[in-house]
Symmetry: C2
Subunit: 461 residues, 2 copies
């Protein structure tokens, strides 16, 4: 039985443990932090994630889809909060399509427990990676008491997040293309308590967005009837909010309808004393070292959180990896090579899409033209369900390869642009006919066009 | 007297030591390797660099320009070696403009000695950076005997190359944008011995280029009458050259005229047994941490070597830094901030130009259109010396900011494109006049154009 060390017992690491163990590998998971299941629960501090089709497919394969869906909260639309307090929904897809707000911690616990049910999985918490010798399949961890342990395996899988230690080791040893970017925006979380009577403070089945062009706040519902609100904003603006008075003035000006729901005292105290946290985007290649190591999830492609695809993309890594293993009959070398080839293209595309969607979320949703285009996309999707899939739908509600989602969108944009250009002479012809009362149906169309050309000719010369 | 630690005693580190010491800072240089001046000289293994205007300006300011120029070899043109053995020069600029082949080691020695002449400079060789505490201005080095020493300074300047330890420390502590890319091409050096009679084996005042579209070889002259030849090629092709026979066939096919000059035995043995080395490009930002640390040269912007600007750009860093220090009256915090703002834009532009020039060097020089454009550029430069500076000239023979060099080139391209479009109807009119024997001078031009329009009209409709 081949052995695998998975570094990282977060969402992707625990899921990958399930996949590898089901295939008969001997799996050891090493996680830097303590077991999340032993940690104290702090109400209202849950971070929530938006689970969509790609993530669900992965959970289905390890038998967890139903329980996760039954404990999440479906969100069928964005709910845009305008400055004047107006709320208007923009659906994510068709009436029955939704993304699901799930509790990160709860999901992580489910995955760890599911993995531990398999006899060939062992968990090691509070083990931090110190060094790797990929060729020897040897990896050294430091424990919380300062001692070191060394483990051996045929394959090392790094699922240890955006600041991955496994990736750092890979960077030292291979020709490794790497890019990390911090955006000029930071984020800060606020908790919106339930309304009196233990009810959700706002319409529940929505992802709430306060889009203010340069910045935005969003809110996702939690099982405990709280909302986790996240403020995304340039650090420069965060810096100006250093007194309760400044915060109050800012919220009154920009998010007036949220203030009574969050509570003035709570908001002003929290925002003026908390530190905004940075957002990183990471692209790299290759994802593997020979037949010895591979990285997945945020370790391979951390992205800004604006498309809600970070976890979904990481989960889909496990699905793709599993499919390639099947294709190559568990041949590790061939699988790792193909995984890099296939997945790095898609993950890079997804990182780009995530940047793009920040502009859509905080700015475009306020534009009439954007809303018109959404309607046109939905109409064409209804007409040609196999041909015209809107970008958001293909990313969130399909498993179309991410790079293909972008290619489709570009093709659609080109087509719409051409149709617009072509409609200009058609509209002119129509206008001419109306103006001259030419009855289109009386004369052959070609004649009408010829007349039009004759009439217009002098203006060309 | 404020104190500065410079990490790295290579070209940029030694130069920066001169600059900082001249300003009255107390300077300590820590270099990982032993003193290059104590190392054995190996004939024919010198790596040469192409010094141009930006580098010369820096050397002038520390009083080294004359001696460096007097020991270098000017190169006035590229010498293109075609497959059939034809050699054709393409000048770099005007008749008196040249880039200069200089010996890296000799230049490094000169700079170290020049720095040591200043009383407030101290050199520490065989000291490798281990850790930094930027806030405390504390930096720990390991010595060759394994012991550690800790040094303190007001400012840390990292001039420690593409794999900079200072930059690594900065990455851990700040929001640091970073990108490293390895191109799919590697390089391998060969030495071309002098011809009988201790003469240069080829025309001396040229940079020789064997441009073969997908790959190329170049040769720069050395003081000792050897040439350093460098083969740049995809690793995939290098891999196929693993036997003397394969190498011989390859050189006979691709670089036939170089074989007698390099020697068949030497080439086949060297290429089949040596390992091609990788080429890295690094972009990052910011270049500084508060008022405590800054990176320069390859540490901040390693580039592929195809524009011959790696050293020149690093040297210009020192000039730009010195100018900003003057502007801010030696205020470190203000200087570091402005240095990042100004220099990161330009260095990124130069990294892009260096990629671009690889295509120019190995491919475009074989294109007639490219040569025509070069002639047009030179003609326009002669007509409008202040308006139309060709790209290569602005990069190599001026101190125009790098990002401005690109902007100028884009503006020139646009103008030429427009001029081409506009010339199409003019040529058509001319053709018409010739065909109909209309005498342009007999009739007002407007009449001729009107005739032309009348004649052409039926074909439009």
């Amino acid at each position: 039985m081949k052995s695998v060390i998975i570094v990282g017992g977060g969402l992707v690491g625990a899921l990958q443990a399930c996949f590898m163990a089901k295939r008969g590998f001997r799996v050891d998971v090493y996680e830097m932090r303590q077991d999340i299941r032993d940690m104290e629960v702090v109400r209202g501090r849950s971070i929530n994630l938006a689970l969509s089709t790609r993530g669900r497919e992965a959970l289905r394969r390890v038998g967890l889809e139903d329980i996760v869906i039954s404990t999440g909260i479906p969100m069928y639309a964005r709910m845009i909060h305008d400055l004047d307090g107006t709320r208007r929904p923009i659906p994510y897809g068709k009436a029955d399509q939704f993304i699901m707000s799930v509790d990160r911690r709860h999901l992580n616990e489910l995955l760890l427990t599911q993995a531990e049910k398999l006899p060939n999985v062992e968990m090691h918490f509070e083990h931090k990676i110190v060094a790797c010798d990929f060729n020897a399949g040897r990896i050294t961890f430091s424990k919380s008491d300062g001692s070191h342990v060394t483990a051996h395996a045929d394959l090392v899988v790094g699922c240890d997040g955006a600041f991955s230690g496994v990736r750092q080791q890979m960077m030292k040893k291979t020709l490794f293309d790497y890019e990390q970017v911090f955006i000029p925006h930071g984020y800060m979380e606020l908790c919106m308590e339930p309304a009196p009577g233990d009810k959700f403070a706002m319409e529940v089945n929505y992802l709430h967005i306060w889009a203010r062009d340069e910045f935005m706040m969003i809110a996702l519902p939690n099982q405990d009837k709280t909302y986790t609100c996240t403020l995304f904003m340039p650090f420069d603006i965060f810096k100006t909010l250093d007194t309760p008075e400044a915060v109050l003035a800012f919220f009154r000006d920009k998010f007036p309808d949220s203030l009574p729901l969050l509570g003035e005292k709570y908001v002003t105290e929290t925002v003026s004393t908390s530190k905004a946290l940075p957002l990183i985007s990471v692209k790299c290649s290759p994802y593997h070292v020979k037949d010895r190591a591979v990285i997945m999830g945020d370790a391979a492609h951390a992205m800004v959180p604006f498309y809600g695809q970070g976890m979904n993309c990481g989960f889909e890594d496990c699905v793709v990896f599993d499919d390639i293993l099947s294709k190559h009959n568990n041949d590790i070398a061939a699988t790792l090579k193909e995984f890099t080839e296939v997945r790095s293209v898609d993950a890079k595309a997804m990182c780009d899409l995530a940047f793009y969607n920040y502009i859509e979320m905080r700015q475009s949703v306020n534009s009439r033209l954007f809303l018109l285009r959404k309607k046109l996309d939905n109409f064409l999707y209804w007409l040609f369900p196999n041909m015209w899939m809107p970008l958001y739908t293909s990313v969130s509600f399909s498993r179309t390869r991410y790079h293909q989602c972008i290619a489709n969108k570009e093709w659609q944009d080109r087509l719409i642009r051409r149709a617009l250009y072509m409609s200009v002479p058609a509209m002119a012809a129509l206008g001419y006919c109306v103006a001259t009362r030419t009855r289109l149906l009386d004369a052959p169309v070609s004649e009408t066009i010829q007349q039009l050309v004759e009439r217009l000719r002098p203006t060309w010369i």
